[in-house]
Amino acid sequence: MEFQSCFDIIGPIMVGPSSSHTAGVVSIGRFIYELLGGCPEEAEIIFYDSFAETYQGHGTDKALIGGLLGMDTDDSRIKHAVELTKQYGLCYEFSLEDSCLEYEHPNTTVVTAKRGEWIVKVGGVSLGGGLSKIFMIDDEQFDIRLSTSDDFSILAASYRPYLIKGPISEGS
């Protein structure tokens, strides 16, 4: 029973065009933002399968970046998230792969993000209708359900102990 609430079906209120390829992905990015306690400085993003094939048309890249910048699913700035990365100091890189070995689903992404001395690798899957799930944090399996009506800052707080300290880059 992945869907638990009437608002998982009617909702989220979101910018288009796709609940699975846009809204659900904003949530994954936003979870990482909350996990790191703010916008990362660096992010390596892998899109798999359907995400890899259609991310441009659905604005999946804008959605993930929007989330990493701390935006919600109905934030009209998502449209311009890519242009806003400079202002927020986020450097990012995308790569595309056929299928995700860690989780079998067409809408999967793995993001490695760094903020200050913290570095984290997070696997997320968008289940449809704006509902998502974090299935991995730093190679450990998880089952963290993300519904847009949840408060991600509270949710993410309990997973902070899983953050590992990365190599301290110069100037940080």
Binding site: M1, E2, F3, Q4, S5, C6, F7, D8, I9, I10, G11, P12, I13, M14, V15, G16, P17, S18, S19, S20, H21, T22, A23, D49, S50, E53, T54, Y55, Q56, G57, H58, G59, D74, S76, I78, K79, H105, P106, N107, L127, G128, G129, G130, S149
Partner: protein, 293 residues
């Protein structure tokens, strides 16, 4: 309380003497711990956002950034206003409102996913047409959204609602099926008749593939939303007339799941086959992303 099937849903409704919408509301109260007024308020907010998407789409002649959609809601609206529509006012208004919402979605405007953004046009189309043509109040429309979410909840947990997972039958199919049930309930049909309409609508869309041109939620998605509203009204009419689905709703949902599982990856929102791979579809993709396929 937990509802796992349409059968169970009808049983609970009959036992508790409640509508499908009321059962959803009761379950939400129990699961979320929020009080009834707060839950209804959240649903009202969604209805208002839907209305705003319809209102902005209906008068916006601009095209989406891709250039392959937009402006059709204005055309349809004018055509209907001139009294030319053949379908009757319920369906032709639903088609117009649905177009308006789906075009707003393609412009990256704010919409409400019902159950997904790709299928976001169908429910608002049907609901605001019921309001305009049948004096269904906003209060009743809000209850209709609870009905829709209950039906969608069962479908989503037994099968799927996204095109990437199960093809367009899971997306537009689920939305049309939900909408059919809502029409029946708002028009005074029994829970059994509502579930019956859900089954009929879903059967009509079984096997529909997800093949968006250039991966955009525009072609053919927008028009499939529009046609989805007609299927919802037809299914509701059949059910309200006393016609039954020969295959029970739970079994139809199971078939939708199996068909979706068997559907090739190329026809599940990857834009690798179907309409996306027509001569025209390929040209659009090349023009937009410069990628030869």
């Amino acid at each position: 309380m937990e509802i796992r099937s349409m059968n169970e849903l009808v049983e609970v409704c009959e036992r508790e003497r409640k509508t499908i919408g009321e059962v959803m509301l009761m379950m939400e109260e129990e699961k979320s711990g929020r009080d009834k007024e707060a839950i209804i308020g959240m649903m009202e907010e969604r209805l208002i956002k839907m209305k705003e998407a319809v209102d902005s789409g209906i008068k916006d002649p601009s095209t989406a950034p891709s250039g392959i959609s937009g402006g059709d809601a204005v055309k349809m609206h004018n055509y209907v206003k001139q009294g030319k529509a053949l379908s009757g006012s319920y369906i032709s208004d639903a088609m117009t409102f649905s177009l308006a919402t789906s075009e707003t979605n393609a412009r990256m405007g704010v919409i409400v996913a019902t159950p997904t953004a790709g299928a976001a046009g169908i429910l608002p189309g049907v609901l605001f047409s019921l309001h305009k043509n049948g004096d269904t109040s906003y209060k009743e429309l809000v209850m209709g959204l609870f009905t829709a979410s209950m039906l969608g909840y069962v479908i989503a947990n037994r099968s799927f609602i996204s095109g990437a997972a199960g093809g367009c039958q899971a997306e537009v199919g689920s939305a049309a099926a939900m909408a059919a049930g809502v029409i029946v309930e708002l028009k005074g049909g029994t829970p059994e008749q509502a579930v019956n309409a859900t089954a009929i609508a879903m059967k009509s869309l079984l096997g529909l593939v997800c093949d968006p041109v250039a991966g955009l939620v525009e072609v053919p998605c927008i028009k499939r939303n529009v046609i989805g509203t007609s299927i919802a009204f037809s299914a509701a009419d059949l059910s309200l007339a006393g016609v039954e689905s020969r295959i029970p709703c739970d079994e139809v949902i199971e078939v939708m799941y199996k068909v979706g599982k068997d559907m090739p990856r190329a026809l599940r929102e990857t834009a690798l086959d179907g309409l996306a791979m027509t001569e025209t579809g390929k040209k659009v993709k090349e023009r937009l992303f410069g990628k030869k396929s």
